[in-house]
């Protein structure tokens, strides 16, 4: 219909993309033949992580059936960290340098065996650095990011989910500073994809401060203490997506807060527990709801809400 962009150039990402090769291992959607389920669990109280827990401190249910779970040492499961970064044209001023700095700090916090990768997106999505233990290569790709184009955050996250699967565990950190305006997929489709993935997803959104938000909110709402915030739909979607994938939603409105959000994600990953269990009580295909509670202790437990059992091939 046309070959002209409205508020962006024809080549959205200047860096030549590097698409990861097909992984040798099986995709992480749990198949009926797969024996074990791995779940990342974050436990905190008053915002502080609770260390030193044992398997016996957790009560795990799979579709309502209690499971015998064991703890797996996090060190034994190297991470594949995929940074999915918004490079749209709104990332001007302090935002892009702040994002690069936060990304570099995050890469520095990874362990030598951990892999890292970089996906950049505007309206177009590109694998800018394939998964590698060579963090310098990823840092180099990060340094080349330039702002241009619109925002396809949902599609980019889907691509990262679908292509980072390699049997191991993926941590996906999505950063965006604006409303998705060119994705084909919507929140509902993305949630379905998350349910069929084993990736842990954290979403980081640069958004205006609460004070600025209130300034644009209907005046009649200020008098009421909300039981849940009236987030714009795109913010609520990012929150929901992170929670569905067992991660967290982070908000930043300054370079310092952005840096802290990425540092906190790295810190949280260092304090996570990995529970492993072989599902008892049936391997029926479809959605399996996971419930995890602490036994005899107080604390907030955060983990993915379930997984998808695909039919036998």
């Amino acid at each position: 219909m046309n070959g002209r962009a409205r508020w962006f150039g024809i080549t959205a990402l200047a860096v030549t993309p590097a698409v990861p090769r097909a992984p040798a291992q099986a995709p992480p959607v749990f198949r009926a033949s797969v024996e074990a389920v791995y779940v990342d669990v974050f436990v905190s109280r008053g915002g502080e992580p609770i260390p030193g827990l044992h398997a016996s401190d957790f009560e795990v249910k799979d579709n309502g059936v209690r499971q015998a779970a064991e703890l797996v040492a996090a060190e034994s499961r190297p991470l594949r960290a995929v940074l999915v970064f918004d490079t749209s044209s709104s990332l001007t001023g302090e935002r892009l340098p702040a994002l690069k700095a936060a990304g570099r700090a995050f890469l520095n916090a990874l362990r030598p065996d951990d892999e890292a990768a970089l996906v950049g997106f505007s309206e177009e999505i590109a694998w800018l650095a394939p998964p590698t233990t060579d963090k310098v290569a990823v840092r180099d790709a990060l340094d080349q990011l330039e702002p241009e184009g619109a925002t396809s955050a949902f599609d980019a996250l889907y691509a990262a989910l679908a292509l980072s699967e390699a049997g191991g565990q993926s941590l996906i950190v999505l950063f965006t500073d604006g409303e998705d305006n060119t994705s084909f997929l919507d929140e509902k489709q993305l949630t379905t994809a998350i349910e069929r993935s084993n990736a842990l997803v954290h979403t980081v959104v640069w958004q205006q401060s609460l004070a600025a938000s209130l300034a644009t909110a209907p005046a009649s709402l200020e008098r009421f203490a909300p039981t849940a915030p009236l987030d714009p739909d795109h913010i609520r979607a990012m929150r929901h997506i992170a929670e569905a994938a067992g991660g967290r939603f982070w908000s930043a409105d300054s370079p310092e807060r952005l840096r802290r959000a990425f540092a906190d994600i790295a810190d949280v990953m260092g304090h996570r527990y990995i529970l492993r269990y072989e599902p008892q009580g049936g391997r029926r295909e479809g959605w399996h709801r996971i419930e995890i509670k602490l036994r005899g202790r107080k604390g907030d437990v955060q983990a993915r809400q379930g997984y998808w059992m695909a039919p036998r091939p």
Binding site: M1, L13, P20, I125, A150, Y158, A162, E179, F184, T192
Partner: protein
């Protein structure tokens, strides 16, 4: 360009109203009509805002007075006057600020130009110019993400040309974009306080109201021009947005049946795929996504859609292969993915339309 003989355009009788027009302004319009565009725009640029308004007001008054009398010429070439103000408006609008949705909206000078265009609408010889002027102005506004302004000029145009298909399409398109990129809070959740839930419900209703208005304009465009397949694509898409899958499917299938335009078919199949996917007809969804991708093998939107649908049907390896190919082509495409620009696809030609109108304004 020599104009067709219209008595009121060609007669050389001046009126009293015309005598009140600023002589320099009249001269600038004349220069513009003779093709001295740069100097004419620069000359009008030196007028103060108030001087421009006064000069244009006197010009409009004289033109109206001339219209009321037969065999009386307007005080100066009205098409050139309209284009002079449009060009000044374009020259004076601030440069793009680098944001995704820059506010570069046609302003006061465009409004003056539109008043001249409205005067031209009453005559057979010039109403084509006037009609295309309003379409061009609406397209330019929408292209610059000035959606309220786009709706304003479309409304003004439709007052003069109520059954004009391009204007009706432009009206629907601006409303559809406003609804789709609407950044409010419309999702109601059980953990919300009643006040917030009500606010979200109201907001969702407002957004759907925009879609319903858009649907009405698209239906009107199809009535006005049965062959306007793009209007059927838009009608299908907004019907889907409103949850009317049957109507969406029917409109999109008609678009497919009536068009051979590849970019349009790409969108129609892509949107048909989504209608079927939502109805859990995954095989049909995959088939339409495949057709869409076949029409533009490097398209990312179709690849993402197909990849997702293939995963839902447990065809995981093909799902990843499709996606891998699409991402490998990033940055190497020669044309843009039509889906990225779908919402503004019909508005891309605002500048081209004005260029054609500018040529027509020469005498």
């Amino acid at each position: 360009m020599i104009l067709a003989a219209a008595p009121w355009l060609l007669a050389l009788v001046s009126t009293g109203a015309a005598d009140q027009i600023n002589a320099e302004y009249r001269d600038l319009v004349g220069r513009y009509a003779r093709g001295e565009r740069g100097s004419a725009v620069a000359g009008l640029g030196r007028f103060s805002d108030a001087e421009r308004s006064r000069a244009a007001q006197a010009g409009e008054g004289a033109a109206r007075a001339a219209q009321r009398r037969t065999a009386v010429a307007p005080p100066f070439p009205l098409r050139a006057a309209a284009m002079l103000h449009v060009d000044l408006d374009e020259a004076e609008r601030p440069e793009w600020a680098g944001q995704e949705q820059p506010a570069r909206c046609p302003g006061k000078q465009a409004a003056i130009a539109a008043r001249y265009a409205a005067l031209l609408a009453g005559h057979d010889e010039t109403q084509g110019f006037a009609r295309r002027f309003f379409v061009a102005l609406a397209h330019r506004c929408q292209w610059n993400a000035c959606l309220p302004e786009a709706q304003r000029w479309v409304r003004e145009g439709l007052k003069l040309f109520p059954r004009d298909a391009p204007l009706l399409l432009a009206a629907g398109s601006a409303l559809e974009e406003a609804a789709t990129l609407w950044g409010g809070s419309s999702v109601q959740r059980s953990d919300m306080s009643p006040v917030y839930r009500e606010a979200a419900r109201t907001a969702a209703g407002q957004r759907d109201g925009l879609y319903r208005q858009a649907r009405g304009f698209f239906e009107g465009a199809i009535v006005a021009d049965d062959g306007l397949a793009l209007a059927r694509v838009h009608l299908g898409r907004v019907s889907w947005r409103l949850g009317e899958r049957g109507a969406a499917q029917a409109a999109l299938e008609q678009a497919v049946a009536r068009s051979t335009d590849r970019p349009l078919l790409y969108l129609a199949h892509l949107f048909l795929g989504r209608v079927h996917e939502d109805a859990d007809r995954l095989e049909e969804a995959v088939a339409h996504y495949r057709r869409s991708l076949a029409l533009d093998p490097d398209a990312q939107a179709a690849a993402v859609a197909l990849s997702h649908a293939l995963r839902l049907t447990d065809q995981v390896e093909e799902s990843r292969a499709v996606l891998r190919h699409a991402l490998a082509r990033a940055g190497r495409r020669t044309a843009r993915d039509g889906y990225w620009d779908y919402l503004v696809a019909n508005a891309v030609d605002g500048d081209e339309m004005f260029a054609a109108l500018r040529r027509e304004s020469l005498e």
